[in-house]
Symmetry: C2
Subunit: 458 residues, 2 copies
């Protein structure tokens, strides 16, 4: 089980960390126009290192927004091809006065490195680059598998450019699987692989009553109020316990495997602690008979996000609005078909629409759940690599949300993603004093080395 | 029945109209800062004429906003005292390109005078002033009753200053009744008196679930959504037919008299025409068994005006908001007590609030319905005066809305208002090509002369 790549990585830990600090010093805040040049600079920094370590066809690709970065090394015939993903843009550092040390002056404390982007996602991007270097240097300029790299600089602002690029460059990006390093461990020192994401159908219901806004004094009692129509409709879409009432909504739902369910029960998760510290509500809601993890990972839901229309400013205005809208989304699980669900939802909304009101449904987005089997060969190899590093069995989890890039890879390239992340739940993502636990940075590099070596048949 | 005042008015029709045109040329748009001096100028214009015709104690009263105008003549001992109300500010004239002739260049066409403020409310204000002049000049410098005048320049922007003034100057403004000239006839040539207004309780329900906004992917299925709480609550406040379900809500409701109901049936009102041209909806809503006029004038209602909270911009955001709100108001009729209704409403909302959600109710405004009996002596005299002018019986109507000044007079001064207006339903209030039918201007002056003469015992 000796790995020359892991040996190389261990001998170069200090240099790898110093390089990461250099990358963290570039304030590549993608949402701020004044940092546009810095995002470009971060891309060039990474591109230069990829060239230096022997990656080929390194390209900084201009887009309408921030650049993409591509590289490859494709000289392992008969071996699998991985598409490595990460991002080099970061969130703004505000509020600045809550940082103990400056966000772009990376500082070590208690075996952590503190800086904006430390864990999200420059530290995890650099794990991938340094794993490639370790494999290349210890392998006489060769990698055990074929590697394509696609890094982006717009993850924190919606990632439009990469979505467009993935859809247009299917052949160029074609691979057997993707490695996505942008998530976290379920708990410290607990090797974790996320193998499922819920899908999403996001809609807007527009209800129209009168032709113009009317005075509620003069017309109240005669003019239809579209808010009441929406309220009547939505009150019948889901019961008070959280069960969705759209006919056939649960028809395709595939339950998680018994092994998954068993594993979830063993996770260090306390519902009361979660309620108090994460949600901060008096009670948790949701379908009876399912645990919180089951409900948020593997049960479909329906939520209202906002109800624009009428008078929303401070104070009082006595208007019966002509039009009111509701933003309603559904989270989907395997094997619910988004088109089928949308059809059932639309028909039900139409059926519930009161006489005299016209409803229209606009679809903002639509994507299925994605789940990788735990017996998938790439997941299996990743599991073994994690076990070798952490000396512990990997836990398989899911996530209730969707990760857009995983969805893009799944839908455009038809490939699964291995979501292997080394962040910790208390790493302060998007918040002041973001950090990355230094041992996890090195664990990450070593795990990726072992993972690719296993897939290369070593 | 010969009236020297009416004779005087008839002999001075052209001059009265010319003076009105001068007043209409002043662009006293109260909502636009650049017209502040014009509102002042309009006040001075009216004040000068009141002084000229012999009114006393004429005062242009500065306020935080636009000036108020006070005048009186109190030398008719033993006779009633009237408080005359109107306003000299106007709406902005936009959109300018839809005016056939310029809004501040009054023009006669088809026996109408076209200008911004022609009917709302400078024309009707000038009716009052010219009636006072006619009475004074034909009565040897004496009026048949005691008269106080309070005119404002902020009606189109909320009328805060007059409300404050009325509350503070109860003794100064004390009168037996108010004459409010700011409304319209139900139909052309149909003398109309509005004898009832609905009351209003306007609230905002705030519902709180989690402590912060949460991602609906990660937390959907576990975190309570305050929008569902509001939807659940509001769906139970009113049934789909329009019946309010708050226990005891209809307890105090006093039905209109049989005479009123009979009179309403005779009004030229076509529900289908109203639905198509005024509301523009597919159907009208409201409690079965009541006519549209009954429902909007004399039945209480409950409406939702807006539901701020969560994500209301264009597009999609997957948020479970920590907080959502709903602006909910109730129109009240005689003899519903606003405090009692608010108590019942609050208790019912609390009862309907789902477990785990906290609701708070904020009250924006609260006022009872006001109805004057058709046998009230001032209403009776007004009725007779209208009949003498129009040679037709007066119809008594109500209005579903509230007229804030009538409410102020009712609550602060404890006096009823005679709402005697001479506008027409097609006078384009607040719209381009606002007009006042010139015969109605003169009818108004003559009616007020006759009204005051009757009350003076002539």
């Amino acid at each position: 089980m000796a790995s020359p790549a892991v040996d190389f990585a261990r001998n170069n830990q200090q240099r790898f960390l110093n390089e990461l600090k250099d990358l963290l010093r570039i304030p590549s805040v993608s949402t701020l126009e004044e940092h546009k040049a810095d995002v470009q600079k971060a891309a060039e920094f990474v591109a230069n290192d990829l060239r230096r370590i022997g990656m080929e066809n390194v390209e900084v690709i201009p887009t309408k927004g921030h650049p993409l970065l591509y590289a490859d090394w494709l000289h392992a015939p008969g071996k699998p091809t991985v598409l490595c993903y990460a991002h080099y843009d970061v969130q703004p550092p505000d509020p600045l006065d809550e940082w103990k040390t400056p966000p772009f002056d990376p500082t070590e404390r208690n075996n952590n490195i503190y800086a904006r982007g430390a864990v999200d996602d420059k530290g995890q991007l650099w794990m991938e680059v340094k794993a490639l270097e370790s494999l290349m240097k210890s392998g006489n300029g060769k990698l055990p598998i074929n590697v394509k790299v696609i890094f982006e600089g717009e993850e924190e602002v919606g990632g439009e450019s990469i979505t467009e690029y993935v859809r247009k460059q299917k052949a160029k990006l074609k691979a057997d699987f993707a490695l996505v390093c942008d998530t976290e461990l379920f708990a410290p020192n607990l090797p974790t692989l996320c193998v499922g994401l819920r899908g999403l159908v996001y809609t807007e219901i527009e209800a129209v009553g009168a032709m113009i806004d009317l005075h509620s004094g003069v017309y109240g009692g005669a003019a239809p109020n579209p808010f009441f129509a929406l309220i009547e409709i939505i009150s019948k879409l889901k019961d008070s316990k959280g069960k969705v009432l759209i006919p056939g909504f649960y028809k395709g739902v595939k339950a998680p495997s018994k092994d998954e369910l068993k594993a979830w029960k063993r996770l260090p998760f306390n519902e009361e602690h979660y309620r108090k510290t994460e949600v901060g509500s008096k009670v948790l809601t949701g379908e009876p008979g399912y645990s919180v993890l089951y409900r948020t990972w593997a049960r479909p839901t329906l939520e209202v996000h906002g109800m624009p229309g009428g008078f929303t400013a401070a104070g009082a205005k006595t208007v019966i609005p002509a039009k009111a809208t509701a933003k309603v989304s559904m989270r989907l699980v395997p094997n619910q078909d988004p088109d089928d669900i949308l059809k059932r939802y639309t028909a039900f909304v139409k059926k519930l629409t009161p006489k005299g009101i016209e409803t229209k449904i606009k679809v903002h987005s639509k994507g299925p759940a994605s789940v990788v089997g735990t017996d998938n060969p790439y997941i299996k190899a990743a599991t073994e690599a994690l076990r070798d590093t952490f000396k512990k069995e990997t836990v398989f989890i899911r996530s209730g949300g969707s990760i857009p890039i995983v969805n893009d890879f799944y839908q455009a390239l038809k490939i699964p993603s291995v979501m292997m992340g080394f962040g910790l739940p208390d790493d302060n993502l998007h918040a002041p004093n973001e950090k990355f636990h230094i041992p996890n940075f090195h664990h990450g590099i070593e795990t990726i080395c072992l993972f690719f070596e296993k897939l290369g048949g070593k």
